[in-house]
């Protein structure tokens, strides 16, 4: 059993974002970075699947600059067996199709049984890299997976997909297949000290790809703070208690809910 997990380095959830000088992205120089949230759950599902099977390897694959090594280190410390780092310095300028195509070319020969990815990235939020990758590799996919029926694992795998408004659906997939994993579906393990030590000797394969031009790549013209659709009355001027008192007054006199 061979499982590849796609993981991406993104801006920290709580980072204060500054728009870059050319207004095409954010200034990434001075912000904290982290592993994309749903990708962490994808890794956890992959590790649990291999553990349930009793054999196999989990390969973490990331596309990004050298800083993305910290994503790899963390994944190896949690239990991934080896890594593929597709080194692209200006990865933020790539479109979803370009990213998927570059990854497809890098991992095709691995012939993985399963590929796990997070359902979307918390920066560009394309939400389609995994699906395009599956199409390019000629394998089926399922998105927004919230449960993997590990007992069913054989030539096929049964997975539970989240639909909208509280609906769910089970699908059985022929392998190989690609699954995109929803955040929050399990408890992610911590890296043990032993795991951190072991990670240092695990193989990391660096690939420097030739990224192909893609005429249909949508182009970001401008990044800006969202236009406010509402005039927000800010209360308290930084004093939460005073704000609370003012708010109750507004709820009483303007909103008339009290």
């Amino acid at each position: 059993m061979k499982i590849i997990v796609l993981m991406k380095q993104v801006a920290n959830k709580d980072a204060v974002l500054r728009i870059s000088g050319d207004e095409k992205w954010i200034n990434e120089a001075d912000i904290a970075l982290q592993t994309n949230e749903s990708d962490g759950y994808a890794l956890e599902e992959a590790l649990r699947t291999v553990e349930a099977k009793g054999e196999g390897e989990v390969i973490v694959c990331t596309l990004g600059p050298q800083s993305a090594k910290s994503v790899i280190k963390d994944a190896l410390a949690r239990g991934a067996h080896r890594a593929i780092h597709i080194v692209v310095d200006d990865s933020k300028t790539l479109s979803a199709y370009q990213i998927a195509k570059t990854i497809a070319d890098a991992i095709r020969d691995e012939n993985a049984d399963l590929i796990f990815a997070g359902l979307q990235s918390d920066d560009a939020s394309y939400g389609q890299t995994g699906v395009i990758l599956a199409e390019l590799l000629g394998i089926p996919h399922a998105t927004i997976v919230i449960e993997v029926d590990r007992a069913s694992l054989g030539d096929t795998l049964r997975v539970k997909r989240e639909l909208e408004s509280g609906w769910y659906q089970w699908f059985t997939y022929k392998l190989p297949a690609l699954l995109t994993i929803q955040s929050g579906i399990s408890q992610i393990r911590y890296a043990s000290l032993k795991g951190i030590m072991a990670a240092k000797s695990k193989p990391v394969n660096e690939i420097t790809p030739s990224v192909q031009a893609f005429a249909s790549a949508p182009q970001i013209e401008k990044v800006y703070m969202p236009l406010k659709t509402k005039q927000t009355q800010m209360l308290g001027g930084g004093d939460a208690k005073r704000g609370a008192a003012e708010l109750v007054e507004k709820l009483r006199t303007e909103v008339r809910v009290i």
């Binding site: 974002l17 939400g127 199409e135 996919h141 509280g166 990044v223």
Partner: protein
């Protein structure tokens, strides 16, 4: 040249966001002078077709195949590929639903394209569209221009257009028998987990908690506020994932969609997935430590500060006001 718009349904019952997609397509069609064709994948002469033909569209195509009775990404991709090749549209417009997220990128990839997804608006720049997408969990907007040749694949976020604004009219009905190849996944029947015992859609006032509440014990703080206001307690997804509140209290794309008179968001940053579930509330109040949290963009009243300082004061003041 034309616009194709996807009509999503389950057993011939319409997914209402498809009307929003029709409104979007009609708007783009007017701006660019393009006719619109609606596409309904189905395994029969879809019961929905007549209803859709009652909108201002050139044509409604039922893409028909026995394998299109229950949704699968493989069958839908094959059907769409054939329809797009037959119609040769300029644009393919869809609502950004979970189902569309599942199959649309696959279809686009077959044409060496990708989807410009989850757009919140567009503008017409010299006959070409510039789309606006939310990025970085709703903290920033990006204007995106389309490049290369048609077809262009666009999905719009729920609520970006109003379904009840879809213009009525009369469309020609056509059935297209499409080929569907090997379907590599076997679906079981969709089901609802533990039927929602709490119907928040009828609530007048909702107090909702997010990650900022920090622990399960702290939910009592929000409960007190809900009690004095006669409000229902709700939550964003991380709270229900942690099982601090049951899933039937979840607001957002994977939970309930609500429009109460007042919505008080405590420690909720305002990720898109949450906002789509509550942005139509009459009055939105946000209390959050992070002054740049996107929830403030849609709030009528905001307090930047610690909810654990603000909420007890609110409870006391409300008690006083009621006394």
């Amino acid at each position: 040249m034309s616009i194709l718009v996807f009509i999503e349904h389950k057993d011939c019952t319409l997914n209402k966001t498809s009307l929003e997609a029709i409104t979007a397509a009609q708007s783009i069609g007017r701006d660019l002078g393009l006719g619109i064709t609606a596409v309904i994948p189905c395994d029969k002469d879809c019961g929905l077709a007549q209803e859709i033909a009652g909108y201002a569209l050139e044509k409604v195509i039922i893409a028909k195949n026995e394998k299109l009775g229950t949704y699968t990404p493989d069958a839908y991709a094959d059907a769409w590929e054939e329809v797009i090749k037959a119609v040769n549209p300029q644009y393919v417009v869809m609502a950004h639903t979970y189902q569309v997220r599942d199959f649309a990128p696959k279809v686009a990839a077959r044409f060496r394209r990708e989807v410009v997804g989850d757009c919140i608006r567009y503008r017409n720049e010299g006959g070409k569209l510039v789309l606006t997408r939310r990025i970085f969990l709703g903290k920033l907007d990006a204007d995106v221009s389309l490049q290369g040749d048609a077809p262009y694949f666009i999905t719009f976020q729920s609520g970006a257009f109003r379904g009840d604004n879809a213009e009525k009219g009369s469309a020609e009905l056509q059935t297209m028998d499409v080929n569907v190849g090997d379907v590599r996944m076997t679906p079981e029947a969709p089901f609802q987990e533990a039927k929602a015992s709490v119907d928040l859609t009828k609530s007048e006032v909702i107090v909702a908690v997010g990650r900022g509440i920090k622990s399960q014990e702290n939910i009592a703080v929000a409960q007190q506020l809900a009690d004095v206001l006669g409000a229902d307690l709700a939550a964003s997804r991380p709270i229900c994932d942690s099982e601090w509140l049951p899933i039937d209290r979840q607001i957002g794309s994977s939970g309930q969609t609500v429009a109460p008179k007042v919505y008080i968001a405590l420690g909720i940053s305002g990720a898109i997935q949450h906002i789509v579930g509550m942005k139509n509330a009459g009055t939105i109040v946000a209390i959050n430590k992070d002054g740049e949290a996107p929830i403030f963009d849609i709030a009528d009243y905001g307090i930047v500060g610690d909810l654990f300082e603000a909420v007890p004061v609110m409870v006391e003041e409300i008690k006083k006001a009621k006394a």
